[in-house]
Symmetry: none
Subunit: 216 residues, 4 copies
DNA sequence: CATGAATGAGGGTTCATTCAT
DNA sequence: TATGAATGAACCCTCATTCAT
């Protein structure tokens, strides 16, 4: 790791640094590709873009999911971290909340894999970053008490985030920024001047897993 | 040398009962499976569940997409129709809007394939039913003029629908009805007592198709 | 099964005629389609064009090959018969030969299935008609003794027929009648003024069935 | 299976040559199988014979047609090249022509896929090798001016080649070399001592694409 | 008997993962 | 160790043939 590599390969002393560099290249390429195409990408595409062979990729990440996990851990963490910082810097509680969504939707909601994963695990975070996003929101929520309509929970704000994130994805390139309007609407709906209580959520139940029969 | 048959061959194909039953079984199984798993399902799974062989399935639906299309056409149409009826019956414009979302999210938003397709084509409907949903919303929108905040468009309401539909999907079985709260929030945000104008959307542009690099 | 059918189906007296009519329709449609597309056609296409169901088709012809056989028997027979008649009518032996090829190539060589089958069984006829074609050629050959170069056999003339038939097929619609030139050339080459003996053919051997290794 | 290994193949040690060997094995097996059975072969059969898995085959040749194309390109090219060389070496123009046919029919006409493709594209070559075969014939044709009967074109000679190639195929293993007699006949018919003009070919027309109805 | 629906063994192709070099 | 070739199960789809109505 700390050893210099004389360019014409003595080779004896390059293992860790090399491996690290490879690993980073893989993660970087994967991040790119996962953001663009979601988790459905062909692993080969990642190998290709990172310039390493499949073997190397699989040495570092024995399962595709391992790589995805790693990338998303990093991306979620960066997101959480920048969100945390922004939250700290913001002075107005309401602006902090607003800015959070703005930043999230502008910056991260286009990341297909992030949104895929977020949708799957927002309620049961399997990644540190997701948990921390929740913490950030929790704090934003706490700070905005009195400004937020009563009863609004962190989960509400998280679900809203995923929901609007989806709007960002589907407006994509052809309806850019239309999600902004939805954001505005939702944020206004979150304001304290709405004092009707939100509907209560039943405790988590086990539903018949196949309830799609449309209603009569 | 088979040529055009003179008009006195009504050619009344007796829609064989068992074929119809099979077709229905296929469509039903497909609807079930598509609702559960989305369009990525294995065609064999549909055949299996409907109790027919691959050949039968492909006799009725020469391409997988044909089956998907058929199922979605039906489901979207039923949705649109029931939405239309509900819209007509509702007396209060606001209640009509509210009920529309309630019904949609309760009844249809769990259908994975419906939501997949809706997300893809909400802005450019390829199914009659989708178009009619838009029409229903258009009318709800028109009727609610004065109650809706100024500037809200049909597209806003549609995007909101897809967005909340996604929330329904991800709350799934374990957080039932939590989306209800989001709905309430959004609807409140749509009320006319919010008079700040919504952000303008730029006209549809061609963006660099690969904008996913998350911000620093 | 033996029960009389109610009023407006006399039916009692039509069974064989009906079956016959169906059979004929099948054969006719099959002839058409086999001529157009060769034996690779989908059986459904034949059923469709003949206006009968698959079951009927398979009742008359339990295997696709049975139908093909039947059609080709008929077509080869017609061919043989018309060739025979023409041979009889022709006064000049050489003209008889010439006309035979002309007629064959103009009239039958476009029939894909005929040519397919002819290519497979010209030397070992499995159809009466093929055998009779051979007989016709045999006679033409005999009558043209003295005009044909010495040593020319019926098999030569048959092989030439298949060979030119193939030329007809591949010139198809875009190079119509070019095969005519080949025919002329071949016929000239068959004339008695060529007195060099033709190369002897070894007796039929069993070759290694896979001799495709191209020579160095 | 895989043959033709240059003598001292360590077998256990094949760094990258391994892939090449596999590729070659695939091509070789494909050539074999395509020669035997034509382009209708099952890709799995090729994989089996070459001793590789489907994935390997598709790694090297993403579409079946790519493999077919590769094999045919190679085979046609070898053919064209050897024909070209033979044409150059031959001193007598007529012998050159004769030898060309002899070699072609002896060496390549048994290759089913080659003949299939040749029949389809002789008039409109899609492979370099086919085009070069045409060039060789063109030159043979030019050199034989004065020996060839007037009016004979390159296209005539090409069509003759395909036509006789078909004869080779159908004589197959059981009537070996009988095509030789046809060749002799045709070549004699091509000689200049025949001075009757060949029938003119109409310019390429668009025919009713379905003219197969055999005559009464 | 006629009908046409049903069957299911392939056929071409893809991709996560393993393995030889 | 890095490489990228190899693997093979799984996917969508076709068609000769059988079978229920």
């Amino acid at each position: 790791m700390a050893v210099a590599e004389p360019e014409n390969t003595p080779r004896r002393r390059a293992p860790r640094a090399d491996a690290m560099r490879n690993r980073d290249a893989i993660v970087e390429a994967a991040a790119e590709v996962l953001a663009e195409q979601g988790t459905a990408v062909d692993v080969r595409e990642i190998a290709r873009r990172s310039g390493v062979g499949m073997g190397t990729l699989y040495r570092h990440f024995p399962k595709k999911e391992d790589l995805v996990h790693t990338v998303l851990r990093k991306d979620f963490s960066e997101w959480a971290e920048s969100a945390r910082r922004a939250a700290i810097e913001a002075e107005e509680p309401w602006a902090a909340l607003t800015d959070f969504y703005q930043q999230a939707l502008t910056g991260y909601a286009r990341h297909r894999a992030i949104m895929e994963r977020f949708a799957l695990t927002w309620a049961d975070p399997d990644l540190e970053g997701i948990h921390q996003l929740r913490l950030v929101i929790e704090e934003l929520c706490a700070r905005a008490t009195g400004l937020l309509r009563p009863g609004v929970t962190t989960d509400d704000l998280l679900l809203l985030l995923v929901s609007l994130g989806h709007a960002v994805q589907i407006t994509g390139e052809c309806r850019p920024l239309m999600w902004n309007r939805l954001l505005r609407i939702s944020l206004d709906g979150l304001r304290a001047d709405h004092d009707e209580p939100l509907p209560a959520t039943p405790a988590p139940t086990t539903h018949p897993p196949n309830p799609q029969q449309p209603p009569r």
